[in-house]
Amino acid sequence: MNNINNKTGGNYPSRRSFLKVAGAGAAALASPAFIRSAFAATPIRVGIISPLTGAWTVYGKAHLSGFQLAVDEINAAGGVLGRKMELVIGDSKTEPRIVVEQANRLIRQERVDFLAGTFSSAERNAAGPVVKAADKILLYPTFYEGQEKKYAPGVCNSNIFMFGPEPTQQVWPHLEYMTKKFGKKLFMIGSDYAWPRVTNEVTKQKLKELGGEVVGEVYIPFNTPQYESVLRDIRGSGANIIFHSLTGSDTVNFRQQFAAAGMQKDFVIWTVDDEEVVTSGLGPKVSANAYVSFDYFMSIDTPNNKSFLQKFKAKFGQDALMNTVGVGMYNAAHMAAMAIAKAGDVSTKSLRTNLKGLTFDKAPQGTITMRELDNQAIVPSYLMKVRDNWTGVNDMFEKVQSLDRAIPLDARCNLPL
């Protein structure tokens, strides 16, 4: 089997042109068996776990479409090793419990070659033990809290590759600018789970170095509709910057009420969660003048991003939203395909070996590298400001500063992974 694959991969251009002729001339005559043997193999099956229903439905679309777009491009170019990539999609329903079910189903029943997706850290942590036990690779696209040994096997897991930025990439590069410009007192507000808590812990380390202080820190349970008491705490805290890691609808609820309380003029908001989808949900008035940091924004002005968005909009419509997570999925698909092509097969071992150290220079946000040591992508880092009276994703963000390669701290794991 491997031999055939290798041969197909090696002869790839001529084989493809042969297929074209065969396809055009004899499509009706060709028996299915003939086509199969011409492709030399069954498709590469990829299991996708996306939040298509439940609390984080709003992110699900970009999450899934990033991977779909990449797979379309790969298949249009003839697939990998002459094999098409095929997606098997599982809905996480935004519940870690369902992630475990879906991961097991995709691996055992659908027999996928590897997995991509899961959205929140809680979802990834649920998938961690499953992919470890089954020894399958999981490509994780989301910005997250970084790898600490105590959260293994959700992180520090040699089966998981991280394509999104962690706090030392997403927050640290911009902390000096923000504290110099606005003051050194931060009020931290986040949703009550692992990602905001650990992100804040990591942020505090750097903040301390810079001589800043945290004057308030609150964590909000999911689906909290009312924020009066929090707004009161913020008002009385003397903070300069509100460091914001609320997620999903809670973000929108909080910010609407923050604006309604007339507090926008008194505090600067710096959010590490509100990408295109959430900022669209906030609307121009409520989101105006907030600072946002990520590895990717739809509005970044690079040739890569331009051609990426063109393809994305052609497939999913002019109004479709893309974000850091969707781009993480896009990069994950392409880098997996590159690793498979390099290895010549799709076993977990070769995928792992070949993903490590791989560089992808067609990523929408620039050039990204999968670090060999800890399976963490080195990505760019942007600090943006939300424009006044923006009308859509194209004029939503204004660049404040950026870094082409934000090098993260080494993962706090037993290295190398």
Binding site: A55, Q226, N253, K285
Partner: protein, 284 residues
């Protein structure tokens, strides 16, 4: 003192907006005895309908009215096709309305998509006074709630429709024997409850994110409001329940974290129900 006043105002604002959210549920549960698990979906529908109307260029208040009437009509149709056959089986209505929630959530996703939507607030700023900045829109919503509760009280206690409804609750058979059109009255009350849910969804929309699950944020809280206040205690019960579930949270958050405050509120609610299973204002 300053803090006491501002906490008091915050608590009052939360109490009224929660009372608004729970009002439709209190009517349907309290008057016709249907355990409406579709209440959250009706709030969501109200929010989406008002968003849709605003996007189409309607002024905000017309959009709110459109949402209330729209959800009320949907409720009447749902009642006519399904619910009216199950008034004597309350537990079954629980499953039916849950089904309504599941179906309408999916329909919302198909029709309106899954992205966040937002309705711009008609009064975006705050009213500045020497001691407190009132969020203008929230204050407005609180006033609407008060008017709504008073108007409903007037209808229930002072008009012939109110007498008919109360007669129906007290003794369905006797009311029927005396010539009251039971089916029509039930339909009217159910439809009114749904319209109130739609109205609440539309009025709360500018304070919240609009996504297909927005109403669920209020579903559990609304049930607690109704049960803690006392089933059938539509006015006082709803207000008192809202204070215990919403207002007390902001007071507790003064001395503890948000998480502890939210847990404590539900703990208090369970304690109340342990010692007053009929609710604070309910009669045995």
């Amino acid at each position: 003192m300053q803090i006491a006043i501002s906490v008091g105002i915050d608590a009052a604002l939360i109490t009224f907006s929660l009372a608004l959210a729970a009002f439709g549920l209190a009517i349907i549960y309290g008057l016709v005895g249907v355990i409406n698990l579709g209440h959250g979906a009706m709030l969501t529908l109200g929010a989406y309908l008002s968003w849709y109307a605003v996007e189409s260029g309607a002024p905000f208040f017309a959009a709110v009215l459109f949402a209330a009437v729209g959800v009320g009509l949907i409720g009447v149709v749902f009642e006519h096709l399904v619910i009216r056959h199950f008034y004597h089986r309350p537990f079954d209505t629980l499953l039916l309305t849950w089904g309504f929630f599941l179906i309408s959530t999916e329909v919302i996703k198909i029709v309106f998509g899954t992205s966040f939507r937002n309705v711009p607030s008609p009064f975006p700023s705050a009213i500045h006074t020497s001691f407190y900045d009132f969020p203008a829109y929230k204050t407005f919503v609180a006033c609407v709630t008060i008017v709504l509760l008073l108007a409903t009280a007037f209808v229930l206690l002072k008009t012939s429709i109110g007498i008919k409804i109360r007669a129906l609750i007290q003794n369905r058979e006797m009311a029927g024997l005396l010539g009251l059109n039971i089916a029509a009255t039930y339909k009217m009350v159910f439809g009114f409850g749904c319209a109130m849910a739609g109205l609440a969804g539309a009025l709360l929309a500018p304070m919240l994110s609009i996504d297909p699950y927005i109403g669920n944020v209020f579903l559990i809280r609304s049930f607690f409001v109704v049960i803690v206040g006392g089933i059938g205690q539509i006015l006082g019960g709803t207000l008192l329940g809202s204070f215990f579930i919403g207002g007390s949270e902001t007071i507790l958050a003064l001395v503890s974290s948000q998480v502890v405050a939210q847990v404590a509120v539900f703990f208090i609610a369970i304690l109340i129900l342990r010692f007053r299973p009929q609710g604070l204002l309910g009669e045995k």
